[in-house]
């Protein structure tokens, strides 16, 4: 369980948010929403420990977490298979694991393509597959379904949430999407600065 107490973050003189108090229970799905510029991505980075400059306390920052960043962050010089296999600690069993992750996002047939050969939506799915492949109790997802059509989004969400529940993973998702927010266990609305 991640516990946030009196969290305050500002960039210089500009206050992003303050007095944030909430908990993210283990195994839950939490959506962070709010209009642009309210600090959703910053909050996600704080929760994951990627940004350590803040006031207040964040307890139980996970040591290990899977990520889908706002940008896909695929390595342009590696093909899809190698991009995914990169996050695996061992080569043994990598082939089956990578193929399973790619199958889940519908990219199994594109495993040897370079990121530049993929559309924006396919790159997004590849970034999701990489996060799914990485064995961690926490997943931080920053607008993971951006650039995906509705059907693909719903299919992947279904698989992602089912997998998270099955493995007891904690999902923290930054999103504007009402359909995703609806399915979350907790909602942190930075626009309204309230926890629903």
């Amino acid at each position: 369980m991640i516990k946030v107490v009196n969290l305050k973050k500002s960039f210089g003189a500009e206050l992003l948010f303050s007095n944030l108090n909430f908990v993210i229970p283990k195994g839950s799905i939490t959506a962070i929403m709010g209009i642009s510029g309210k600090g959703k991505t910053t909050l996600l980075r704080l929760l994951a420990g990627l940004d350590k400059e803040f006031e207040g306390t964040i307890e139980n920052v996970p040591e290990k977490a899977a990520w889908v960043f706002q940008e896909d962050r695929l390595l342009p010089w590696l093909n899809l298979y190698d991009n995914l296999a990169l996050v695996l600690p061992r080569k043994e069993g990598a082939l089956a694991a990578v193929l399973a992750a790619l199958r889940l996002v519908g990219l199994e047939g594109d495993k040897f393509k370079m990121p530049s050969e993929l559309s924006g939506g396919m790159q997004r799915r590849a970034a999701l597959a990489r996060a799914l492949l990485f064995q961690a109790d926490y997943m931080f997802l920053d607008e993971p379904f951006a650039a995906l059509d509705r059907k693909t989004k719903l299919d992947i969400t279904e698989s992602l949430f089912a997998l998270a529940k099955e493995k007891g993973r904690t999902l923290v998702i930054v999103t504007h999407d009402a359909e995703i927010v609806e399915r979350a266990d907790n909602i942190i609305d930075l626009g309204e600065a309230r926890i629903i």
């Binding site: 994951a48 990627l50 990520w67 390595l75």
Partner: protein, 244 residues
Amino acid sequence: MRKLKSAGVLLFWIAVWQVVAMIIDRELILPTPIQSFSLLIKLLPQVFFWKDIGVTLSRVALGLVISIVAGVALAISCHSSRLVYRLVQPVMSTVKTVPVMSLILLFLVFMKSGVVPIAVCTMACLPIVFSNIYQALENVDKKLTEMGKAFRLPRQKIFFKIVAPQIKPYFNSAVVVCTGFAWKTVVTAEVLSIPASSIGYNLYISKTYLDTPMLFAWTIGIIIISVVIEKAIKAMLRLGDEKV
């Protein structure tokens, strides 16, 4: 087809050379290609020819290696510390602007003639390696590195899989540029410092005795070796690219 075209261009310019030499008709000013190539062929079985080439080549290699090692080390230090950058960067900019000739004459004052070409080559190539590698390090995509750290990749893996591929094009370009530059610099320094047993020494002797055909023969030899070395270096770098 491309090779055939290149050969055609080469033959065309050799023919132009032959015609101009025939018009001038003075071996002392411009020997014909036939005279120059036949002299070069006569040099080929001579032991001293290969020995002198070997000595010059070893100077080029040593100068290159020193400049690459020092350039990379300085670039890493400057990337890590602003203070070191402020200290080193002006020195590199200054060294870059100093004419090679000044460096040779300066080093000749306090160095042995055999060492001068190596020192000059190092000083000439160092700023090129430094600026390329420093620029590469500054341009490394921090978001990709952060991705590696977020997925808890070991440092070694982050370096070899994420950082090194971004630095490699800059490194390769520095090595290719420096190889050609080092070769020219070392031979120039040898002509002025006249260390016994070197390509530069032979050029100097040819010039002193007004042996223009010999000067041309050695120059053709230098061009051929330079092309071979450049191709070898590019092939080696390509091989390195495939392995990364």
